[in-house]
């Protein structure tokens, strides 16, 4: 098992390296390159050459990459000339807020959706199942911005119970004003629950038709016991896959919700950087999301092994 973990860690490192190469090459290949983006369209060729030389952009690509990689390793993600801040500092400010927002939403969604999906599977094709399925489809097919605005209208404008905008300050500010988080979290949770119940329901239905469920019934086990002891664990694999895929989302943020509630998270950071061609930020955030993706699939693989003994012994 420990050997397996070490092996998977190495694989994750390779994946992250691959991500950095791809990201690096792509941004260097953009027309004009970083000098044009920073100095503006009216910069003279001499100014661009001087800038390139000063920043090492005239050196061979491999050398540039190695230097950049060395910076990454020491936590130096680059410097945003547009915002006059280091990328690391920007991300350090935004990342905790986004993790808080999306993480809480996904955790709540998981806690609600798994039991709900199991209950649906047990009562499949009956009223409860149809009702939950119906509601889930409504939320899932609703555009996020529309749902957000709807919630704002109801809870902020009509009822005046909750602020329509997220706290603007730092992480501490967000933590000390939790009421500002309620609506964005609620929006994300509703949509995610809808998605998660679908997964849970279908994998639990499959588990319920397995022969070992019949064996458990033949022992005299009640439906609840069958579900808790036999169905839950066996239907966890697709849910784990889902959790693994959620990790990069937690890091990269929820752009739509962040825009509607003006929540200064990773999604907004990336979006504005993309609009202003702020390459250092784009590079930095992409690398961070790449690392999160690799970690997410690592986490999923490890959880598979915890849940399923067959995977454990196949390693």
């Amino acid at each position: 098992m420990s050997k397996f973990i070490v092996r998977r860690l190495w694989q994750s490192v390779l994946v992250v390296l691959g991500v950095t190469i791809v990201v690096f090459v792509f941004t260097r290949l953009l027309p004009g390159g970083p000098a044009r983006a920073i100095l503006g369209p009216r910069a003279t060729p001499a100014a661009i050459a001087a800038f390139d030389h000063a920043n090492g952009y005239d050196r061979p690509l491999v050398a540039q990459y190695v230097v950049w990689l060395g910076h990454l390793a020491t936590g130096n993600l680059g410097y945003s000339y547009k915002l006059n801040q280091s990328v690391a500092a920007l991300i350090a400010d935004r990342l905790p807020k986004t993790v808080l927002l999306v993480g809480i939403a996904n955790l709540i969604a998981l806690v609600v959706a798994v039991p709900l999906g199991l209950a649906q599977a047990v009562r499949r094709n009956r009223l409860t199942d149809y009702a939950v399925t119906g509601v889930a489809f409504v939320f899932y097919s609703m555009p996020l911005f529309w749902l957000s605005i709807l919630l704002v209208i109801v809870f902020s404008i009509d009822l005046g119970a909750l602020p329509p905008q997220a706290p603007q300050g730092d992480f501490l500010d967000v933590l000390t004003h939790p009421s500002g988080l309620v609506l964005p979290v609620l929006t994300l949770t509703l949509v995610t629950v809808a998605l998660f119940t679908r997964y849970t329901r279908s994998s639990a239905i499959e588990a319920l038709t397995q022969d070992y469920v019949r064996t458990a019934r033949a022992k005299g086990a009640s439906t609840n016991l069958v579900v808790v002891h036999h169905v839950l664990r066996n239907s966890l694999l697709p849910i784990i896959t889902m959790i693994g895929l959620t990790i990069p989302v937690v890091v990269s943020g929820a752009l739509v919700v962040e825009s509607v509630f003006n929540f200064p998270g990773m999604g907004l950071l990336f979006w504005s950087a993309a609009q202003t061609q702020d390459y250092p930020i784009l590079l930095g955030t992409t690398v961070v999301v790449g690392v999160a993706t690799a970690l997410g699939s690592l986490l999923a693989d490890l959880l598979y092994a915890v849940v399923d003994p067959r995977i454990r012994s196949a390693r």
Partner: protein
């Protein structure tokens, strides 16, 4: 039925006029239509029938574990005088596992893959007994020990995938018996297992029946399995019991034409007679509408108008032999039928030219581990097999699962390349050839699969399925292909209209015919048939075996028939090769190998194959081959069979016995101590 229950307390389980239906969508399938049966304590009742006869659904009705949409619509299920039908779900839960234990067919899928086996047994204990977690765990070890799990105290932490099929089925039995129920229902408990393991498992069930004084309901399609272990046998057809009698009585003097037809279709009944197997014409009944009259009447040669109009009331003879038939068979003074004929000389075909010859064939599958998938070992699937297949002959390859017989078949058909050794096809070594020449040569060797349904593209029509081999090989033009497809359909006894139908629209037997037709499409010289009939009911199996034989007579084609079923191999083969753990241990003319086996393993296989002959089966009850097939990653030194062989000596571990002929006209055997073959054929 209006029987006073309190006045008839006899019988541990007594089912009266049971009706069960399964509703799905708009159709209602009448799966059980008035079953009456009873089982006493300490008694084994065998329920036999083909698929769709309602035998399994009768068993599931007792436990009320019916599939989705299933419902008991009438009748009573009395357990110790108490009717289970009106019981609530929670009342029934006390019966399930507590008073009735149940064992299912497939022990792999029937065990929870994510739960240690000890926990699965302990769960059953804790559901019915007020014991602590620790006491339940101790009880689990005790029961696993009882069912013959070696080192049970250590194995409780194992997961199902770490066990062999036989050990998994022992776990299933332990679960069923953890609370010492009064009644055990075993639904095809050994169908998924090898014959040697089947015998071990049946032995375990029978021993525990005596120890616990349980009643046992043994549901099976195999007339041989019930012969040795059942006290009484009930035969089901169309959701009813059509005949029931004491085992010896039923196997000698069956009265119902369906029972007789089942017996007649057994391959062992036709060996050496040279006659084709008797088949049952027609299709099993459609149960989606209620049946008037006898369900078997449309397929029965004796049927009269009365049979079609009303269901025959029960006739009970002295001794309790009961049947539902207006035109029963008579057995006036007739002797019980002889089950197995004496061995005779094999068909002389040694002069026929050799089509394919395997020379010192080896196949190893690598076992890889680590980041770089380093090779850490290998599974020796085939280890030095040489054999030759002659024109117009059938070579039967038998052995337990994992012996390498399927690998040889796949190598023959070019689906796999050998690690070393030669596959000589008319002098060309297929193992060394590549490219177009190999592709063209392989036309001559075709493969017929066990599960034809899985081996056919569900979105292709039968016509395209049959034409595909010709398309792939670019043989024949479009019109010639179409003509060939029609010819093939005719050869396998199917109507031309079949070309437009999809695989799911055919019955199991028809699909197997299609599979054979596809194998014949390129006019091969050799067809490799891997378990061609093991998924089929006896009556359908007989049709396919007859068809294969007829085609061989017409076209002088050769077959390699791979099967775990010795009766099938014996019926269809001219030469039998017996494999054990990658080695050919005995090969020779079918009747010699079957009649006078020289290798202890062959002997053991023959002794463990159940035959439909109760006295003989009872006499052989203790002839069990112990142990399980050894690991192919690390095979035993010397003779690979020595770990299970009753005659093994020191020399067996130190030197490997070569395959050597015993004499002219006799078999070759790889054994240091071949069984004495006396002139009268006894060993």
């Amino acid at each position: 039925m209006t029987q006073n229950v309190s006045a008839a307390p006899a019988g541990l389980l007594r089912i009266e006029d049971l009706h069960t239906q399964i509703r799905s969508g708009d159709t209602t399938v009448h799966v059980v239509n008035g079953v009456d049966l009873h089982v006493d304590r300490g008694e084994v009742l065998g329920i036999v029938g083909e698929s769709g006869s309602g035998k399994t659904l009768t068993a599931l009705s007792v436990m009320r574990l019916l599939p989705h949409g299933g419902r008991i619509t009438g009748g009573r299920i009395m357990l110790d005088g108490r009717d289970l039908v009106p019981l609530s779900e929670s009342g029934l839960r006390r019966v399930r596992g507590g008073e009735i234990g149940m064992v299912f067919q497939d022990p792999m899928s029937s065990l929870n893959p994510t739960m240690a086996i000890g926990d699965q047994v302990a769960e059953a204990v804790r559901l019915h007994r007020r014991v602590s977690r620790r006491q339940a765990a101790a009880r689990a070890v005790e029961v696993l020990d009882q069912v013959g799990m070696p080192a049970a105290a250590r194995r409780v932490h194992d997961y199902p995938h770490q066990l062999s099929g036989g050990m998994r089925q022992r776990v299933m039995i332990a679960i069923a018996l953890a609370c010492e129920p009064k009644l055990l229902i075993a639904d095809e408990p050994t169908t998924a297992l090898d014959v040697t393991i089947q015998k071990q498992i049946l032995g375990v069930i029978d021993r525990l029946r005596r120890e616990l004084d349980m009643g046992v309901v043994l549901v099976t399609h195999d007339l041989g399995v019930v012969a040795g272990y059942a006290d009484r046998v009930a035969v089901m057809y169309g959701g009813r019991i059509v005949e029931t009698a004491a085992t010896d009585e039923l196997y000698g003097r069956e009265r119902h034409p369906y029972t007789a037809a089942l017996f007649d279709a057994l391959p062992e009944r036709a060996v050496n007679t040279g006659e084709p197997l008797r088949t049952i014409p027609g299709q099993p009944p459609d149960l989606s509408s209620p049946i008037t009259g006898c369900a078997f009447a449309p397929r029965c040669v004796r049927a009269t108008d009365r049979c079609r109009a009303e269901f025959p009331a029960v006739t009970v003879e002295a001794g309790g032999h009961a049947y539902h038939c207006f035109v029963p068979l008579e057995h006036v003074g007739a002797a019980p039928r002889a089950a197995v004929a004496e061995p005779a000389a094999g068909r002389p075909s040694d002069e026929a030219p050799v089509v394919v010859e395997l020379v010192d064939l080896h196949k190893e599958f690598p076992v890889n581990r680590g980041v770089l998938q380093r090779r850490v070992g290998s599974v020796s699937a085939v280890a030095g097999v040489s054999l030759s297949i002659r024109a117009g002959q059938t070579f039967g390859l038998v052995g337990e699962s994992g012996c390498g017989k399927t690998t040889i078949g796949r190598i023959l058909a070019g689906l796999e390349r050998p690690t070393s050794g030669r596959v000589l096809y008319h002098g060309d070594d297929l193992a060394g050839l590549r490219g177009a020449r190999r592709k063209r040569l392989l036309r001559g060797i075709q493969f017929m699969f066990q599960d034809s349904y899985a081996a056919m593209d569900p979105r292709m029509r039968a016509g395209s399925i049959l034409a595909e081999p010709m398309r792939v090989q670019r043989s024949e033009d479009r019109t010639a292909r179409r003509a060939r497809v029609e010819e093939l359909l005719g050869q396998v006894g199917m109507a031309r209209g079949a070309v437009r139908r999809y695989p799911h629209e055919f019955s199991g037997g028809q699909r197997q015919r299609l599979g054979l037709a596809r194998a014949l499409a390129l006019r091969p010289e050799l067809v490799v048939a891997d378990e061609p009939v093991s998924a089929l009911d006896v009556s359908i199996q007989a049709q396919i075996l007859n068809l294969m034989r007829d085609l061989q007579r017409q076209t002088a084609i050769s077959y390699v028939v791979i099967s775990h079923d010795l009766s099938v191999v014996r019926y269809i083969s001219d030469v039998i090769g017996v494999m054990y753990l990658g080695k050919l241990v005995e090969v020779g003319p079918a009747e010699i190998v079957y009649g006078r086996p020289a290798h202890p393993y062959t002997r053991a296989l023959i002794d463990t194959v159940p035959v439909a002959d109760p006295p003989r089966e009872r006499a052989r009850r203790n002839q069990v081959l112990g142990g399980e097939i050894a690991s192919a990653t690390n095979p035993p030194s010397g003779c690979r069979f020595r770990t299970r062989c009753p005659y093994a000596a020191d020399v067996c571990a130190s030197s490997e016995p070569p395959l050597r002929p015993l004499g002219p006209g006799l078999q070759s055997v790889a054994c240091h101590f071949p069984l004495e073959v006396s002139p009268d054929g006894s060993t």
